[in-house]
């Protein structure tokens, strides 16, 4: 299989013991994989280790067969790995248009995907609502034309109706051939649009399989989130 993002036996240690251990994952282009699990389970640390924000202690990360563990963040990004972080890293004092044009001067694709941004183009990005800021960040990812896109807790702090608005864009990425890794604490939202589902509890993968199967296994989800 070529063109995939493969994680093997990944372990991440933040100093007080591993927060992620023994994770095996394979993301194919043109798919959405949902990673769900309770807070503090290690989902964010997993993404950070893949994109290079954190250094993994063990294991391999491969893109198209190339091990990228030794590469810097910039180098991993250059290989088409885009990480949309939890903290909505927009430039607050720049306008929306300036935020988008920094990556690519042609922002028509973004405005097509998010027509709401059209009337906010001249507003300072820091004044936008959480949902609008998330649109800007996703728009930036859109024009960066990634091969693999990892989105961390897109729905954090957003009302459900806003999240409904953003989910079709994630599907667009998939339709364009991007391999999407969608991390969410709100399992149902992510599992509905994903083909594969992974549950991470206490840093380890406790379930890996078809998303639809996971969605219908209420007992398993409740156990993972709310404890025994």
């Amino acid at each position: 299989m070529s063109g995939g993002l493969v994680i093997r036996e990944l372990e991440v240690d933040r100093g007080a013991g591993p927060v992620v251990s023994g994770v095996n994952l394979a993301i194919e282009p043109g798919t959405i994989t949902a990673i769900v699990g309770p807070n503090g389970a290690g989902k964010t640390s997993l993404l950070e280790a893949i994109s290079g924000l954190l250094t993994s202690t063990r294991g391999a990360i491969e893109i198209d067969g190339e091990d990228i563990v030794k590469l810097s963040r910039r180098q991993r990004a250059a290989r088409g790995l885009v990480h949309v972080e939890q903290n909505r890293a927009i430039f607050p004092s720049l306008t929306v248009r300036e935020n988008l044009e920094l990556v690519n001067s042609d922002i028509s694709a973004v405005l097509e995907a998010f027509p709401e941004l059209d009337k906010r183009l001249t507003s300072a990005a820091g004044l936008l609502s959480g949902g609008e800021q998330q649109m800007v960040v996703l728009g930036r990812a859109l024009v960066a034309t990634p091969k693999f896109l990892m989105i961390d807790e897109m729905s954090s702090g957003l009302a459900p109706v806003v999240v409904q608005r953003l989910l079709p864009i994630v599907e667009r990425f998939r339709d364009a051939g991007v391999g999407v890794l969608l991390v969410e604490q709100f399992a149902h939202l992510a599992l509905r649009i994903a083909s594969r589902g992974i549950v991470i509890t206490s840093g380890q993968v406790t379930y890996s399989g078809a998303a639809a199967a996971l969605l219908s296994d209420e007992a398993l989800l409740h156990r993972s989130y709310l404890g025994e």
Partner: protein, 285 residues
């Protein structure tokens, strides 16, 4: 008193230019540059010493400006390389050291007596209602206004300005999307070094041109920058010119001889208290 106020416009122009430089560095590279005026002083003194060796004045001035740029870039390089993640305090502490370094190096290289500058723009420009306005005054005011407007235009209307503001907001994210943070930061230092050198070279012939007084022009300049909270170029401009005029007017009264020196500090304190009247807890601390 009007004559005094108008005479004060010249030094007010210097305050304004330095204040604009302080605001730019504070906004774009997160540093309060205590050495801003000292950088100009080194450039100016270098130019004078070159004239002393027989070089033509225009060439000497250009060389002086280049020296000012290089010194400023060197300071910026140290800060960008080793203190990229440090607090504004730590980064600015380097400029405190640079201030001391530049003044003492100036003593060593050029002696401790005030330098004698051949006036660059001698004489009066015109007269308004019996009050004489010198060429230097006109030049300084024009320089201050031009610099402030140019900075505002570059920052808000050019792609370079957008990148600079992005670096100021989130340097790590800017780096990630491919903006050359290091190179652009140092270019900010180059630009402010150039501007400060030009200003000091123009004003130096009319002042007591000793290293310490020229370098400490950064204090009234910071009062002006504080009017704009180290964020607004227009208020820095107005503050600088205004402070110069106030000091000039006060100079007419012999009784205010001592109090005059305290005007900048009083204004600094007043502006700081006003800026921070609503106490808010810094999330980061």
């Amino acid at each position: 008193m009007l004559q005094g106020a108008l005479a004060g416009l010249a030094i007010g122009g210097v305050y304004a230019v330095i204040a604009v430089c302080l605001t730019i560095t504070a906004q774009l590279v997160r540093v309060v540059n205590f050495a801003q005026a000292a950088i100009g002083m080194i450039g100016a003194f270098f130019a004078v010493s070159m004239v002393g060796t027989g070089l033509a004045q225009p060439i000497a001035i250009v060389l002086g400006i280049v020296v000012g740029c290089l010194v400023s870039a060197a300071i910026g390089w140290v800060i960008t390389t080793w203190l990229a993640d440090a607090t504004t305090s730590a980064r600015s502490a380097v400029t405190v050291a640079a201030l001391l370094l530049l003044i003492s190096l100036s003593f060593i290289a050029f002696g401790t007596r005030p330098q004698s500058f051949r006036p660059l723009l001698p004489g009066p420009a015109f007269t308004i209602g019996g009050v004489v306005v010198t060429q230097v005054t006109v030049a300084m005011v024009i320089l201050a206004v031009v610099v402030a407007i140019a900075a505002k235009l570059v920052l808000s209307k050019t792609r370079l300005g957008t990148k600079l503001r992005a670096i100021a907001d989130r340097p790590v994210t800017a780096e990630m999307i491919g903006i050359p943070v290091r190179a652009l930061s140092i270019s900010v230092w180059l630009a402010t070094g150039l501007i400060a050198s030009v200003a000091i070279i123009v004003i130096a012939p009319t002042q007591s041109a000793d290293a310490t007084s020229l370098s400490l022009l950064v204090i009234p300049a910071s009062a002006a920058a504080l009017l704009g909270r180290f964020a607004r170029l227009d208020l820095a401009l107005i503050g600088g010119l205004g402070l110069g005029m106030i000091q000039g007017a006060a100079a007419q009264f012999a009784e205010l001889n001592v109090l005059r020196d305290w005007i900048p500090l009083v204004l600094i304190v007043a502006f700081l208290l006003w800026n921070q009247r609503k106490e808010a807890w810094d999330v980061a601390r």
